[in-house]
């Protein structure tokens, strides 16, 4: 009984000593690096990267998943989007697309929250840039290993018998 307790005690002391040694031997801890912030100390202000040019190719990007709001493949600098004027709708409104050949708003944008389709754009969908944004050609700041369902399901078929 007492032998076991002693052994446990010795083991505990040894472990504590080992941890202490390891702690002492270690060099100063590197500052916690935030990938978005970079190695800048928390009390300093990082120098912001230069502004990039917005993508302006008019080529639609693939969506990552079916319900993703499509990105905007053109510049929207200075587009007025407020209570009075929605510049996006000048081209993307259903009534305008014959002339402008822009992509029309989907029918979901005309639905109120109860699912009734209305005659005009629903106020909750009026401010386009809440969901749709232009893109910049930049290196992502953090790694992203997202795969859409099609890719993931093709790459790793479920093992047989395991459901």
């Amino acid at each position: 009984m007492s032998g076991r307790r002693t052994a446990r005690c010795v083991a505990g002391v040894a472990l504590a000593a080992f941890v202490a040694c390891a702690w002492a031997a270690q060099p100063a801890q590197p500052a916690l690096a935030d990938p978005l912030r970079g190695p800048t100390p928390i009390l300093d202000e990082p120098h912001p990267p230069p502004l990039q040019n917005q993508e302006n190719k008019d080529v639609r990007r693939v969506r990552s998943h079916p319900m993703q709001p499509p990105t905007i493949p053109h510049k929207i600098d200075g587009y007025q989007l407020d209570r009075d004027v929605n510049r996006c709708l000048f081209c993307h409104a259903r009534a305008r697309i014959e002339e402008t050949r822009a992509i029309p708003l989907s029918v979901t944008h005309y639905m109120d929250r109860d699912g009734n389709v209305r005659g005009d754009v629903s106020p909750r969908r009026y401010f386009c840039t809440q969901c749709h944004v232009p893109q910049d050609e930049v290196k992502p700041l953090v790694e992203n290993r997202f795969e859409d369902f099609e890719t993931a399901s093709r790459r790793a078929p479920a093992p047989a018998g395991k459901r």
């Binding site: 009075d84 409104a93 009534a95």
Partner: protein
């Protein structure tokens, strides 16, 4: 001699009214339209070339300029009687005022735009595909002029019904793409 003095004085005074400090000496201009201009590419941009009020709103050729200045004497009347002396009055008239300018630029084939933006010198390969297509067809054929599409580029647009029906814009125009 008196003729020279009169003429010199007249022209100097005329030129004085054709400067931005003169335009923005009234709070109506300084607090409304001038503020709106400042965030646009015609005021602040990478190369520092900028448009001042008369560059867009007053013709450069002398006879046209005099004609415009005579029209603008109505603005003195407006100033005296406070037609747009408050923000609310200005907002209430924004559509009307904008339509005047749209009609003027439509009638003169966007002359003030073209004083700087020459169609003959546009490099379509440097434009976005949409812009190149529109400029290469509608603008080239003369079917449309600059102001038909490029509205609200230097000042905020008045409230227009959405989706902007063709009727509301067609007096004025087709929209920017």
């Amino acid at each position: 001699m008196a003729g020279i003095v009169f003429w010199g004085g007249f022209n100097t005074a005329l030129e004085l009214t054709n400067t931005e400090p003169f335009c923005t000496s009234c709070h109506e201009m300084r607090d409304n339209v001038y503020v709106e201009l400042q965030s646009t590419i015609h005021f602040s941009n990478r190369s520092g070339v900028r448009a001042k009020c008369p560059d867009c709103h007053v013709p450069h050729a002398w006879t046209d300029k005099i004609a415009r200045k005579m029209q603008a004497s109505k603005e003195v009347w407006g100033k005296l009687f406070g037609t747009i002396s408050t923000r609310e009055k200005f907002e209430a008239r924004r559509l009307e005022l904008a339509q005047h300018e749209w009609a003027r630029l439509k009638a003169n084939d966007s002359l003030e735009c073209r004083n700087c933006h020459g169609f003959d010198y546009m490099d379509f390969t440097r434009q976005s595909p949409r812009a190149a297509e529109q400029h290469g067809t509608l603008l080239a054929s003369g079917e449309r002029t600059c102001i038909d599409c490029h509205k609200g580029i230097s000042h905020r647009l008045p409230a227009l019904p959405t989706p902007a029906p063709r009727a509301a814009l067609s007096a004025t125009a087709r929209t920017q793409r």
